[in-house]
Amino acid sequence: MYEKDGEKYFVVDGHIHFWDASPDNWVKGQEKYAKGWIECFHAYQGLGPAETHWPIEKFQKYSEEDFVSDVFDEGYVDVGIFNPTYLKEWYTDGFNTTETNARLAAKHPDRLIVNGRWDPREGEAGLRRLEEDAERYGLKGVKLYTAEWRDGSRGWTLRDPEAAPFLEKCAELGIVNIHVHKGPTIWPLDKDAFDVRDVDYAATSYPELNFIVEHVGLPRIEDFCFMATQEPNVYAGLAVAVGALMHARPRFFAKVMGELLFWVGEDKMLFGSDYAIWEPKWQVEGFVDWDYPDDQFSDYPAVTTASKKKILGLNAAKLYGIDVPEEFQLPTEAETPAAREDAQLVEGAA
């Protein structure tokens, strides 16, 4: 929890990792990609405050002690949500897997939520594995990485007919939170790899599921906002938006937040540090202190203490059924819907 000026914030970090990207874990012949990937992440860390930067060796592989200290002891996080990223084409034991996450989570019951994953390209075997994982880990969410490479295929979409049985299985098993990575990706090559239209399609088809678009679709935040404003079950995962912009580009951060508050609304935005790209501590502190820099931003929705409490933890707690002690709750349920205006002009706009 975080306390500032007499206000108490229950912090759910919606996006954390415990990865191993050390050279020992690089797949032979794929070193260029394994090395490039983690170096790319490391450069992102450089967008945070200088005193929070790590040397690349620590960044490739950090310890459980580092994790506990950075996330729980220093980082104010009450509950962290592990979102796995396998990338087994590049990393022998995977980059950041549910199995590894679960071993750490077992040592911190009630503090860590382990999300699973699935891949429609695995077919029937994948469905069985999802059932097993749901049973073993008590899954309430999955992280989908539509850009992941697999046996020569370099990605898939939620529109693929092969994805439908998996979404149905999630609904059946109560895995209601579908986190979709729509952030920096590479493939497919001849289209815009950041397309979020497949989420739109799935969100309409499965209203009983929540779709959390990670990294708010950056760098296609406009497409994400247009979609989210029309789908009641689409949420904005703020990981990367806070880490990459709040410190390095505060005015752009203010504009991005203003647009998200306008189009998506404070009830559908979820904080995520993306640890270990960035430590949660400076992000939580900075976000609680944050406001628009000047009156050039007066056109955007106001951000209040209540907005910050929702975004930092209460919204995610609702989606995951996390018990939040009374002292952190808002006095009355005040929902502030975002823009519901017709976004039909959007298609014509770009």
């Binding site: 790319c40 289209k191 760098p219 505060p250 189009w263 205006e341 014509g348």
Partner: protein, 231 residues
């Protein structure tokens, strides 16, 4: 003007298709060496090794084309460095091959549709800056939408808008509307503020992506870190 200066000028007309900014001001040109005989050796860099290969290809290919067009240039070698698909891109671009030849079997077509999509976004974003300035100066929505292309100021956003309209096949003669929908259609005065809301979001996206790319490039190549650029 030296050949090198003319080469750099030519590179200033090559845009990052996603950000709609020249690759020179984005500092994507690492070096540009010109021999006495007019052979150009060009090195390019990007903010991350994982930047989208399609946009990387377009910039490398456009850079080669822009330089080759100069009569005093005898040959050009483009070397994109530190990118996860640099070998594929360099091999194809320097042979003058198309994108599909750089990545055989991995694409279904060329990049024209992708390029046009981002031209449309760029046009919306740049027009919105011009419109907002007019409204801030006291113009009514009716006055703004009644403006003609000939009324556009002689400044970078307006010049680029006309260039983009040319590329998109949208009329840009003096008596054409100053501001248009990206399909070339008219913007009704009554819709202007709503359109600007959407346009502002697109602009915020392009601008913040540009900011993030600049930040990442600085971190990656340890470039001097100037003051926060005003958004």
């Amino acid at each position: 003007m030296s050949i090198r200066a003319r080469v750099l000028d030519a590179l200033g007309t090559v845009y990052d298709p996603e950000l709609d900014e020249p690759i020179t001001s984005l500092e994507f040109v690492t070096s540009c060496d010109v021999s006495a005989d007019g052979d150009v050796d060009l090195r390019l860099r990007l903010p991350t090794s994982q930047c989208a290969p399609n946009f990387a290809f377009l910039m490398a290919a456009d850079a080669r084309d822009a330089v080759r067009r100069l009569p005093e240039v005898r040959g050009v070698t483009v070397l994109l460095e530190d990118h996860c698909t640099d070998d594929e891109i360099n091999a194809a671009v320097n042979r003058g091959q198309a994108f599909a030849q750089a990545f055989p079997g991995e694409t279904e077509g060329e990049l024209d549709a992708l390029r046009r999509l981002f031209w449309r976004k760029a046009l919306v974003a740049r027009q919105s800056r011009l419109c907002e300035a007019l409204l801030a100066g006291g113009a009514t929505p009716e006055e703004v939408t009644a403006r003609r292309a000939a009324d556009l100021p002689d400044e970078p956003d307006a010049r680029r808008c006309l260039e983009l309209r040319g590329q998109l096949g949208i009329a840009r003669e003096d008596d054409a509307a100053a501001f248009v929908l990206p399909d070339g259609g008219a913007i009704a005065a009554v819709d202007l503020r709503h359109w600007l809301r959407i346009a502002r979001l697109i602009r915020t996206s392009l601008e913040s992506n540009g900011g993030m790319c600049r930040s990442l490039l600085r971190v990656r190549y340890d470039l001097p870190n100037p003051e926060e650029i005003a958004a």
